[in-house]
Amino acid sequence: MITCRDVDSFLDDYLDGTLPEDKRKIFEAHLGLCPPCVDYLRDYRAAGSLAKHAQGDHEHSVDGLPEELVKAILAASSKPG
């Protein structure tokens, strides 16, 4: 039987779907007996999803390139344009 510490070491491979079959069964058997690990897995996965959503939402609310920066870039390029 694996420990909670072992579960954490397999966590990312489990979420990526790359955990070998034999380890996955042991991992899921532990989850069946350990509510704290079930909660931890749920929150670990949710935190990752929140990070993606937060960045995505931020994308839509940010303005375009400031005009002074556009001018500075073109001046630094010392090329026609």
């Binding site: 420990t3 909670c4 510490r5 072992d6 954490d8 070491s9 966590l11 990312d12 350990c34 704290p36 690990c37 909660d39 931890y40 749920r42 929150d43 670990y44 949710a46 935190a47 990752g48 929140l50 990070a51 993606k52 959503h53 937060a54 960045q55 939402d57 931020h58 994308e59 940010v62 303005d63 375009g64 390139l65 400031p66 920066l69 556009v70 500075a72 870039i73 073109l74 630094a76 390029s77 090329k79 026609p80 344009g81």
Partner: protein, 218 residues
Amino acid sequence: MAVTGMTELDKTDASAVEADQALVAELKAAAPGSYERLVRAHGGYLLRVVRRLLRNEDDARDCVQETFVQVFRSVGEFEGRSSLRSWMHRIAVNCALMKIRSDKRILEDSIEDLLPSYDDEGHRIEPESELSVSAETTLEAAQVGDIVRRAIDRLPDVYRTVLLLRDIEDYTTQETATALGIEEGAVKTRLHRARAALKTLLAPVLADQSGKPRYAWW
């Protein structure tokens, strides 16, 4: 600054590919107006990319400027194996990572306090709940977004960069290792610690005591 090559063509529609090719031809010929069109078409996107990696707005703007200078100098070597935006994205990320490596000013807290604890038998020790948000409060998406972005910013750079590259920029483990100059095993270890720390930092917003999500859009 190294310009990393791409090994596969991005999946874009035919009109976007044609527009890319036309603009690249104009850039290579230094056609009047072509540089400004490139900056206005892609500058805002690149600024958003580097802002995710850099905590300082001045550094982010410097990085965008350096990226375009590099692009203008290197466009003659661009072979079109990826989209123009993907190519510039990689240059911008490399620029941001170099700035992070060179910035020795930031004194960072240890990540250890944010990682899970276990007893002597390897059983999880559940942390005491420190809810900073009222159980009756349902958080709106904008509020959660701000909390999440601040949490990511609190991570030490060595972990924050891996998290951003893997989970936000969707780099593979190999691409992340190459970008950061570390082994793939180190990427996996740092990513796990970053995700675990982020989970700890976001604990007050993930769920209320009954497990019900706090945020309206989840």
